[in-house]
């Protein structure tokens, strides 16, 4: 059961990483700021600009 829980947590963490939610939490922690709509928009400006300047795989 514990192994299953651990696996579930890992899958959720992966999904959150793919969704940039983990990166956002790291951004908030690094800058010591609380979550807000404006902060999310500020984060995504930088994050998405960098993300979509790179080639996507075929």
């Amino acid at each position: 059961m514990k192994a299953l829980q651990k696996f579930g947590a890992l899958v959720l963490a992966l999904l959150r990483e793919l969704a940039d939610e983990n990166a956002y939490q790291r951004h908030l922690a690094a800058h010591g700021r609380p979550h807000s709509g404006a902060e999310w928009r500020h984060f995504t400006e930088h994050r998405l600009r960098a993300k979509y300047a790179r080639a996507k795989c075929c």
């Binding site: 992966l14 999310w40 080639a55 795989c57």
Partner: protein
């Protein structure tokens, strides 16, 4: 305990060899797909446990005491130590594109055996090695890109050439995958409606994420998945409606123009509004479908109906012309070796590796997973009746312009199929016709639908699953088109900056962005329209062009990798990257040469142009003149690819000879050693 482990690994190796032997030697009757699954899984396991471990320990000397860029340059954004399994999933999601799904389906025209062997062996000895070594090289160089590493380790010529090569590859890639979508959706109101519906869904997701529930990406993506599935049901209703059906029924040319216009707007709109939400949606659906397909194949264990070899090993294939060597090896790129992966391995991933040893499962292991996706695609294609497979994939210019002519031609090849069979199949999946859908996507969708439908529901759910699979492939491809057009824009700016920084700056303004987006769309759009007009179906010329270019990019990556191994150890371990490099160079240059100069008109661009020229003398027409121009243009593009890579090869050989003779400095541009202070709970 150690003896037991040795026995288990020996058993895995023997089982793998037995299954590989089984699929290679059994030509008499259809075989079960489980043979392919077990052969692949065992070979991957042995390759991962022994070959990759040898490279990790002896060649790279991965050292967990050395701080990675994620630790040293940690900024909470790009550089962040990440759990290895999360990074594995992240890297796999980044490298998994439509290539490993479409390539094997097209290569199945040779039969299941050549492609399957190349997917398994190519990945273990070539593709995974390339990804792993480039990931390692980038990790040891603060996460630098392939172009930057090439400039430092090989020379400035290599760096510049790599940039031009990637831009050209991007243009061909976007054109060919757009053609796959066009051929899948032409005359299909169900599919077209479903894909059209994903656009307002993505816009809604963008607004939701920006203003309504900022930051709730998973929640928003879940809503998106539900809406997309609802749109599949909506598509069925639309296709059956006499009023709405015609609104969503387009021919190939109409769809091509729609895709080009889409590419322009999708790349020019703010990323948060369209591209990013669509990409989130696409990533989750992609992972879900790959998982479901894997489970489905294990559950259903379909029999392969296509033979081990077909008669088209002689080079007369209807989908694309050319013999197994070299064309099987360039048609299946991403499932075995893909140059594009080197861009990902020197992109985000090296900046997120917590411990050096994690590069081993992430770099090598992810490629094995990708290779397994290609095996699943091969199974999905080969479980179709051969007659059906060829009826779906062969262009009208080869098999005849009417269903009666097409089935007569295909049956004469020894693959019996009737027009009634095809009509029933089309009806079952909710389509008007399945003939002439060259490109791989519809036949893959048919295979996937059959697997999912056998899981429950039978023929009654075949239409839903077929359109689910088409939606998945098209969503995936259209997201890459939007992102690729955008990246092409940045590359053009980079390239301009090499000559004039002031001109490059102008291109980043509002007018410049729009003009340059138009230029990129026009470039790949031209090749797309060329493919649609091509009487041989377009895939015959464009897919080999894409395959050659992608494998040439892999050659560039392997040149860089070889240079690094040479500088690290002298000639001792050069063979690790040299063996796949020599194979790829041989395959790509042979394919490139044949595509330009082969005397057979269905294979060589110049021969085809000469044949058309002769026909034009008798009956002059603007369409034929355009086809002649396109053939010559394709020959020039192929020639440019070969010249670009020959330049890098010569530059690399010069570097290698200099190092071996001691006339050239063999300095390695690695970041200096810094001891890691990362705690186990941080990894």
């Amino acid at each position: 305990m150690k003896i037991l482990a040795h026995l288990v690994w020996a058993a895995i190796a023997v089982l793998g060899a037995f299954c590989l032997g089984g699929i290679a030697l059994n030509h008499a009757e259809p075989i079960n797909s489980l043979w392919l699954v077990v052969a692949a899984a065992c070979t991957y396991a042995v390759g991962f446990r022994f070959y990759a471990k040898f490279i990790a320990a002896r060649v790279m000397a991965l050292n967990d005491k050395r701080a990675t860029p994620a630790e040293r340059l940690r900024d909470g954004l790009d550089f962040e130590p990440t759990n290895k399994w999360i990074l594995f999933g992240h890297h796999f999601a980044a490298i998994a594109g439509p290539g490993p799904l479409v390539g094997p389906v097209l290569a199945a025209q040779f039969g299941y055996l050549p492609g399957t062997l190349w997917i398994i062996i190519g990945a273990v000895l070539g593709g995974a090695v390339q990804d792993f070594v480039i990931l390692f090289a980038s990790m040891r160089r603060d996460g630098k890109s392939l172009g930057q590493i090439a400039r430092e380790e090989v020379g400035t010529v290599g760096g510049f050439t790599a940039l031009v090569t990637v831009l050209l590859i991007m243009i061909i890639l976007l054109a060919v995958i757009a053609l796959v979508v066009v051929n899948a959706l032409k005359g299909s109101p169900w599919g077209t409606f479903t894909i059209a519906a994903t656009m307002p869904i993505a816009l809604w997701m963008g607004i939701y994420l920006r203003w309504i529930r900022p930051g709730k990406v998973l929640e928003c993506s879940l809503m998106g998945v539900v809406l997309v599935i609802a749109s599949i049901f909506g598509g069925q209703w639309v296709s059956e409606s006499p009023t709405w059906g015609p609104w969503f029924t387009f021919g190939a040319m109409g769809l091509s123009i729609a895709v080009i216009v889409y590419g322009y707007f999708a790349s020019a709109l703010p990323v948060w509004l369209f591209l990013a939400p669509r990409d989130y949606l696409c990533t989750f659906i992609k992972l879900g479908v790959v998982l479901a397909l894997g489970v489905g194949i294990l559950f259903v264990r379909p029999e392969l109906q296509l033979p081990a070899f077909t008669r088209f090993t002689d080079g007369t294939g209807p989908i694309f012309a050319g013999k197994i060597f070299p064309f099987c090896f360039i048609t299946i790129a991403c499932g075995a070796v893909s140059g594009f992966h080197a861009l990902i391995s020197s992109g985000t991933t090296p900046k997120m590796i917590a411990r050096e040893s994690h590069a081993y499962p992430v770099g090598y292991g992810s490629m094995l997973m990708e290779s397994f996706v290609a095996i699943m695609a091969m199974i999905a294609a080969c479980m179709l009746q051969p007659g059906v497979y060829f009826a779906v994939n062969s262009p009208a210019g080869v098999v005849g312009a009417t269903p009666a002519a097409a089935v007569a031609t295909i049956s004469s090849w020894g693959f019996p199929v009737t027009a009634a069979d095809m009509a029933t199949l089309a009806k079952n999946v909710g389509e008007q016709t399945l003939f002439y859908r060259t490109g791989g996507a519809p036949s893959l969708a048919l295979g996937m639908a059959a697997i999912f439908a056998r899981g429950g529901g039978g023929d009654s759910v075949l239409g839903f699953w077929y359109h689910f699979a088409i939606m998945f492939e098209a969503l995936f491809i259209l997201t890459i088109i939007a992102a690729g057009t955008r990246v092409g824009r940045f590359m053009l700016v980079d390239l301009t900056a090499q000559f004039s920084k002031a001109a490059a700056k102008k291109l980043t303004g509002l007018v410049g962005v729009n003009v340059i987006s138009l230029v990129v769309c026009a470039a790949w759009g031209y090749f797309l329209i060329q493919g649609v007009r091509d009487p041989l179906g377009g895939i015959n010329s464009l897919w080999p062009l894409f395959g050659i270019s992608n494998q040439l990019l892999a050659s560039v990556a392997l040149c860089v990798a070889t240079t690094i191994l040479l500088k690290m150890h002298g000639p001792k371990f050069m063979w690790i990257t040299c063996v796949p490099l020599v194979w790829l160079v041989a395959a790509c240059f042979t394919a490139g040469w044949q595509k330009i100069f082969a005397p057979e008109p269905n294979l060589g661009f110049l021969a085809h142009a000469a044949q058309l020229e002769q026909a034009m003398r008798a009956n002059p027409s603007a369409t034929t003149a355009a086809l002649i121009f396109n053939d010559r243009l394709d020959a020039v593009v192929t020639g440019i690819f070969l010249i670009l890579v020959a330049t890098i090869l010569v530059d690399s050989l010069r570097t290698w000879t200099g190092i071996l003779r001691g006339t050239r400095e063999s300095r390695i541009y690695e970041a200096p050693f810094v001891p890691s202070t990362l705690q186990p709970e941080e990894v």
